[in-house]
């Protein structure tokens, strides 16, 4: 057998080497660029070249940022969640994130990018970018003047991937995979695309940079990403009900090391998320980068410090959960606030989310398995509101040098933030509830109890994570 193969392969290879026999090479003529322009012409050309040169730097950063944001979902978030579930469900949990990396990408290419960033109405984009028609190497100044529109598209795609993936934390360990797929496709169309359009899309209702009706400050996705996902998470947790055995049976994380790796990659990737949202390698990107680092750090201290005071010991899981909460809260604020404000926002978010997850959740009794609501819903809301408080024109003169946030002298901004938050909550609640009803009607959202006991890895995917 082996010999036969060898002979066949050798024969093939000798034959093909013969094909290189002879064929004359035609070297394509070199384009000669004549350069006898006047000074004015030279200046104009130089200016074009300068712009191109700047664009290279900006594009370098934006491609890096896009890669970092994908890293946040896979392996980042997947591991963060995967370590927190029980051993029998780890692959199913990873699969939720990973399948979204694939499915949302295709959906975005065909439909949702256009729905989010096409011109359309104040609530939803139009169809001009279906199949990415017209999304190419040229910049689209409505979004970002110094990078290819295609770069903007793929950067935004990474946000569209991680947002639904965040929801998975709420229904972990009990949702059918098929139901999840359908749910997420619908959710991307019904909840994500409109929200992204309202906040960031041309002509969007809440678009602060382009004179929306209620200018909501959301630099990198406090409302669009974290509130929508966190609130939808709460709805799914309530709709699906608790896991069997919760809360009597202990369900400790099966591998805290995995969650640690995930959290660290989330932190690192978040630089792409927030500083990338400057859409250029500008000083504003640096400012957002710094705010991100400071918010995460302060929140880790906030959460772990609260644990230390209440339990006598800080935990690693607490510290990393705090960091993630801080990253969530600083997201909308990152391009609007200075470093000291970032420390305050982080600290507040760390403590509030700690109380939410450890005290309030237990009292209310819902089973948000991995605290998608407690961290993203709550942290996102805290962050969106505090953005209205701390945003400063010195950092980002988005309103033509007018004061931006409350402390800056524009108290009304807090109200605008509340409108943005309320709309995000409302859209998430209504949208998610309707989609769940539909999916439940068609395929059923929850696995049968015996499958839940046996674990989703075997029953949904026919594999086990750890073998002899």
């Amino acid at each position: 057998m082996r010999r036969l193969w060898m002979v066949l392969l050798l024969a093939l290879s000798l034959g093909s080497l013969g094909a290189v026999a002879a064929r004359s090479a035609v070297v394509p003529g070199l384009a000669v660029r004549s350069a006898t322009a006047s000074v004015a012409g030279q200046l104009a050309q130089l200016e074009r070249q300068v712009n191109q040169a700047r664009n290279r730097g900006d594009n370098a950063w934006m491609l890096t940022s896009a890669a970092l944001v994908l890293l946040m979902t896979g392996p980042g978030l997947a591991l963060f969640y995967g370590g927190l579930v029980r051993k029998k469900n780890v692959l199913a949990t990873l699969m939720q994130s990973f399948s979204l990396m694939a499915i949302i990408t295709v959906l975005w290419a065909l439909l949702t990018f256009s729905l989010a960033f096409g011109q359309g109405t104040a609530f939803l984009g139009g169809f001009e970018y279906l199949f990415l028609h017209g999304v190419g190497g040229a910049a689209n100044p409505a979004y970002a003047g110094s990078i290819p529109f295609e770069t903007y598209m793929v950067f935004q795609l990474m946000f569209a991937i991680i947002t639904p993936a965040l929801i998975c934390g709420a229904f972990a360990e009990r949702m059918k995979f098929s139901a999840m797929v359908v749910f997420m496709v619908l959710w991307s169309v019904v909840v994500y695309a409109p929200m992204a359009h309202m906040v960031w899309g041309e002509g969007g209702l809440l678009n602060a940079a382009q004179g929306g009706v209620f200018p909501t400050l959301d630099f990198a996705g406090g409302t669009v990403v974290h509130i929508t996902s966190g609130v939808s998470a709460l709805v799914t947790a309530l709709y699906l009900g608790r896991r069997l055995g919760y809360p009597e049976e202990p369900m400790p994380p099966h591998n805290v090391v995995l969650s640690f790796i995930g959290a660290c990659l989330l932190w690192v990737g978040w630089f792409g998320f927030n500083a990338g949202s400057a859409l250029a390698a500008s000083p504003l990107a640096t400012s957002a980068f710094v705010a991100t680092q400071f918010g995460a750090a302060a929140a880790a201290i906030g959460w772990a410090g609260a644990e230390w005071m209440r339990n006598g010991r800080p935990s690693l899981l607490g510290a990393v959960s705090g960091a993630v909460a801080g990253l969530v809260a600083i997201t909308p604020a990152s391009g609007f606030v200075g470093p000291m404000s970032a420390l305050v926002i982080g600290l507040v978010a760390g403590i509030v989310c700690y109380l939410m997850v450890t005290k309030v959740k237990a009292r209310l009794g819902y089973d948000d398995s991995l605290d998608a609501f407690g961290v993203h819903g709550v942290g996102g809301t805290v962050g969106a509101l505090l953005t209205g408080v701390f945003a400063a024109r010195a950092v980002n003169p988005i309103f033509n040098q007018q004061p931006v946030g409350l402390i800056d002298g524009h108290p009304a901004q807090v109200l605008d933030q509340m409108v943005g938050v309320a709309i995000a909550w409302a859209l998430a609640i209504v949208g998610t509830f309707i989609i769940l009803k539909i999916v439940d009607g068609i395929i059923g959202v929850r696995v049968p109890p015996e499958h839940e006991v046996q674990g989703l890895d075997i029953t949904q995917h026919g594999e086990e994570a750890y073998n002899l």
């Binding site: 055995g245 009597e248 049976e249 202990p250 006991v453 046996q454 075997i458 026919g462 594999e463 086990e464």
Partner: protein, 112 residues
């Protein structure tokens, strides 16, 4: 003294532990094992290679109890571990000749 070995479904473990404690059986040793029996396993496929997994995760409890507690312990386990489905597991009882508590070298039933 008798040794009771019980092989049970992992999901019933907390209940069995509770039931045993209620009747006064404190000391026990727990092992993670894999069981093979009538309960049919499942199929796993990795890149096209199909495996029939017929070794299923079980929990094994071992406890040495005074003779008079044997039947109570068996009943407690039965009550808490039984779901009526294939794969619920087995209880085996055997004799132990001597037991010693390492801490203070007590022997016999006093050591349990």
């Amino acid at each position: 003294m008798k040794k009771i070995e019980a092989i049970i479904q992992p999901s019933r473990f907390e209940a069995v532990k509770g039931a045993l404690q209620e009747i006064g059986v404190q000391g026990m040793t727990i092992l993670e094992v894999r069981g093979h029996g009538r309960q049919k396993g499942h199929t796993e496929v990795y890149r096209g290679s199909e495996y029939t997994v017929d070794l299923l995760p079980k929990i094994k409890l071992e406890m040495v109890v005074p003779d008079r507690l044997v039947e109570a312990a068996v009943q407690a386990i039965l009550k808490a571990a039984k779901t009526g489905k294939i794969g619920d597991g087995k209880i085996f009882v055997s004799s132990i000749e001597e037991a010693i508590r390492i801490r203070n070298e007590e022997r016999g039933e006093a050591a349990l």
